[in-house]
């Protein structure tokens, strides 16, 4: 079958060396310039929300930590926050600190991972290998604390499963010093490289207005000058007790996002040090008898942005509804604003700069093989809104209009 190509289309995906996950970016190109972009995801839908409704409250953290290997502390924590809100449980202080430490260690290794991948995307494999080598000790620390390099499975409703033994604290502090020294070297090398400046500055700029209208979160928003951070705005775990600042950059380009991530590594190291110093004595979990009927939501600042979990309980031992919204789900559509009009070389870098995590973002897509009908983003959004309206009607939520605010 011979087909003439009408529009010059460059396919980034479904399998592309840019990223190892399944995603499809359809770039309409005019020479080297990208004139339009369409995103198609959901090549590997796993039905996490449905699965979660078949599991008991204590089993779900293990499931949601597998939504994403890198955010495998944030997802369970957001879920636990939701369940604890329903049940009105206050975990012991030590558990809150342990959760904070694990989440911040996760942020350090995730940001180092992104820095390495960012290097790889622009052909700078030396940065890739070095950053990943610096990341290894952090994974070793997580393994020493929880028993796993990823998918820690350390939180449970009412506390934590594994404690940080007091004997381990000097070792963690020592390793953190080394990580800080190496990251400092890497940061200086990256921020002073003139070729990197030429390559990253002014690329894939997401203006503050666009960032607000696309409701991006995490380092993507902070790189565009919006100081949102769940840890600061709605503190959970032990973040309210720690002294740290939200890193922002105003430029909104790839370089700003890189700077935000690199500087956040140092903030995280600072937070882990403080948390280890203040680590209170006592138990790490309280007994939880049952989860009463009700609904609750939990948020956590994952390395990529805000992770949101909603749980509805009918008083049984399983949730009747579990809704997950991962940060990449809102960050990915912002490509419409940041990619059009850029060079192909810049677009592939911009796609990677929000650190998208497709396994978090998977949504059900309906594909009819015969008619070649795909329910795209707009159609799914419409379906989602219709369903939300139906549920609201069922449970009798009063109508809320934007004008009321």
């Amino acid at each position: 079958m011979k087909e003439s190509v009408n529009k010059p289309i460059l396919a980034v995906g479904p399998f592309h060396p840019l990223q190892e996950e399944m995603e499809y970016f359809q770039l309409t190109v005019d020479g080297e310039i990208v004139t339009d972009i369409d995103v198609r995801i959901s090549y590997n839908h796993r039905g996490i929300e449905r699965l979660s409704e078949t599991l008991q409250y204590d089993q779900i953290p293990f499931l949601v930590s597998r939504i994403c290997g890198i955010c495998s502390a944030s997802h369970p924590l957001a879920y636990i926050n939701a369940v604890e809100e329903i049940a009105g449980i206050t975990p012991p202080d030590r558990a809150l600190y342990v959760r904070t430490i694990i989440n911040e260690l996760e942020r350090i290794h995730s940001h180092l991972l992104w820095v390495g991948l960012g290097g790889h995307f622009i052909g700078y494999d030396t940065v890739f290998m070095w950053a990943w080598k610096y990341r290894e000790p952090v994974l070793d620390l997580l393994e020493a604390i929880t028993g796993n390099r990823n998918n820690y499975g350390n939180v449970k409703v009412g506390g934590c499963r594994e404690d940080i033994p007091n004997e381990l604290i000097p070792k963690i502090l020592k390793e953190l010093d080394l990580v800080e020294k190496k990251t400092d070297m890497l940061t200086k090398a990256i921020l002073d490289d003139p070729v990197l400046h030429v390559r990253l500055k002014g690329v894939g700029t997401l203006s503050k207005e666009d960032a607000i209208s696309y409701a991006v979160t995490g380092p993507t928003a902070r790189g565009s000058g919006i100081a949102i951070d769940v840890r600061h705005d709605d503190p959970y775990a032990a973040y309210a007790d720690l002294d740290w600042k939200v890193i922002t950059q105003t430029e909104g380009d790839v370089f700003a996002k890189a700077v935000v991530r690199l500087l956040e590594i140092f903030e995280s190291i600072k937070m882990v040090r403080q948390a280890l110093k203040k680590l209170p004595d006592g138990p790490i979990a309280v007994e939880v008898k049952e989860i009463p009927p009700g609904e609750g939501f939990g948020r956590a600042e994952a390395p990529r942005g805000e992770t949101f979990h909603y749980i509805r309980s009918d008083g049984g031992n399983r949730p009747v509804r579990h809704k997950v919204r991962a940060p990449s789900y809102v960050n990915v559509p912002s490509f419409k604003a940041s990619c059009i009009g850029q060079h192909i070389a810049d677009v592939t870098l911009t796609l990677a700069a929000v650190d998208p995590c497709y396994s978090c973002t998977e949504r059900l897509a309906v594909v009819d093989g015969r008619k070649n009908v795909v329910h795209d983003y707009d159609a799914l959004l419409r379906l989602s809104r219709e369903k939300t309206a139906r549920i609201k009607k069922e449970i009798g939520v009063p109508e809320i209009k934007l004008e009321d605010f």
Binding site: K2, V5, I122, G123, D125, T126, H343, I344, A345
Partner: protein, 314 residues
């Protein structure tokens, strides 16, 4: 008759095809191993590039349905032939010191052949990724050919109007300001010719999935790999002969000195490859035309003054 047989032996075995391909694959291994050491990896074993080529030889060749079959198949062979001729010529000049008029010009022509073959082959493969790779390679060739030729003009000025490679190897133009500038610029041009970072724009893996050679597979891909391996011998060797005095002129131990110079150029290429990100195509063209152009214009003025007043270090 015996002369014809000898010529065939020269082209096919020594110092042509077999000799260069073995050296080239070893050079490939050096590039991969040194890159690995810079990146704190272990790196491949010595025979890995050989295994890669052998394995590709045994794979199926897929030719795109919409592609131009004849051009698609011919292009890698044309490219390989060009590099083969170039390397045979360079080695013969090194070994026997024979020469014919116009050596350096022939070499410049032969050096363009692989790029042209790549452009031909990828434009015949009817793939959007390859077509973007093609346009990038064309722009890149236009970008670096001019500075490269200008750099060789400086060599010709420094050597008093010599065009023959055997004569040029008796001089060492890199030991002067203009010659050094020309050497550095042509080193960067060679980087682009070899398709290494920061100028691997036409093949950039994470953007257009190795664009130029995207549709190639099996033995044809192996031919491209062999061509690139042979370029890894021929192009640094050409720089050594033109700028660094080749193998012959240094007193005592000519072979050791020659190999040392070749390894020096190779290591410089590897270091540039490993300490830079990939640049964009417009940035690369601007770099070659504006910055390299200005540097070479200054170098040509210096070289002309130097040759007029007999000042060797200019």
């Amino acid at each position: 008759m015996t002369e014809a047989l000898q010529n065939i032996f020269w082209i096919l075995v020594f110092p042509g095809f077999v000799f260069t391909i073995v050296l080239g694959l070893v050079a490939c291994w050096i590039v991969r191993k040194v890159s690995a050491l810079v990146q704190w990896r272990v790196g491949p074993p010595l025979f890995q590039p050989f295994y890669d080529v052998m394995k590709l030889m045994g794979k199926e060749t897929l030719i795109p349905q919409d592609g131009q079959r004849a051009v698609f198949i011919a292009a890698p062979i044309v490219g390989l032939a060009g590099v083969l001729l170039l390397s045979t010529m360079l080695w013969r000049t090194t070994i026997t010191q024979n020469d014919f008029v116009g050596d350096i010009i022939v070499a410049i022509y032969l050096m363009i052949l692989p790029s042209l073959a790549l452009i031909l082959g990828s434009s015949a493969s009817a793939s959007p990724h390859a077509s973007i790779g093609t346009s990038r390679e064309m722009k890149l060739v236009m970008g670096y050919e001019l500075p490269l030729v200008l750099a060789f003009i400086i060599v010709i000025i420094k050597t008093g109007g010599q065009l023959s490679l055997a004569e040029i190897t008796k001089f060492t133009p890199a030991l002067s300001i203009s010659g050094m500038l020309a050497f550095l610029v042509s080193l960067l041009c060679i980087q682009a010719k070899l398709g290494f970072v920061p100028f691997d724009i036409a093949e950039s893996e994470t953007e257009i999935a190795s664009g130029l050679i995207m549709e190639y597979s099996g033995p044809l891909l192996a031919v491209w790999k062999m061509m690139q391996a042979m370029m890894l011998v021929a192009l640094p060797l050409f720089l050594v002969m033109v700028f660094l005095g080749g193998f012959g002129t240094t007193a005592g131990w000519p072979l050791v000195w020659g190999i040392g110079k070749y390894v020096l150029v190779l290591v410089l290429i590897i270091l540039i490859k490993n300490t830079n990100p990939r640049v964009r195509i417009d940035q690369a063209m601007k770099f070659f035309w504006v910055y390299c152009g200005i540097a070479l214009a200054i170098a040509i003025i210096l070289a002309s003054i130097g040759s007029y007043y007999d000042i060797n270090w200019l």
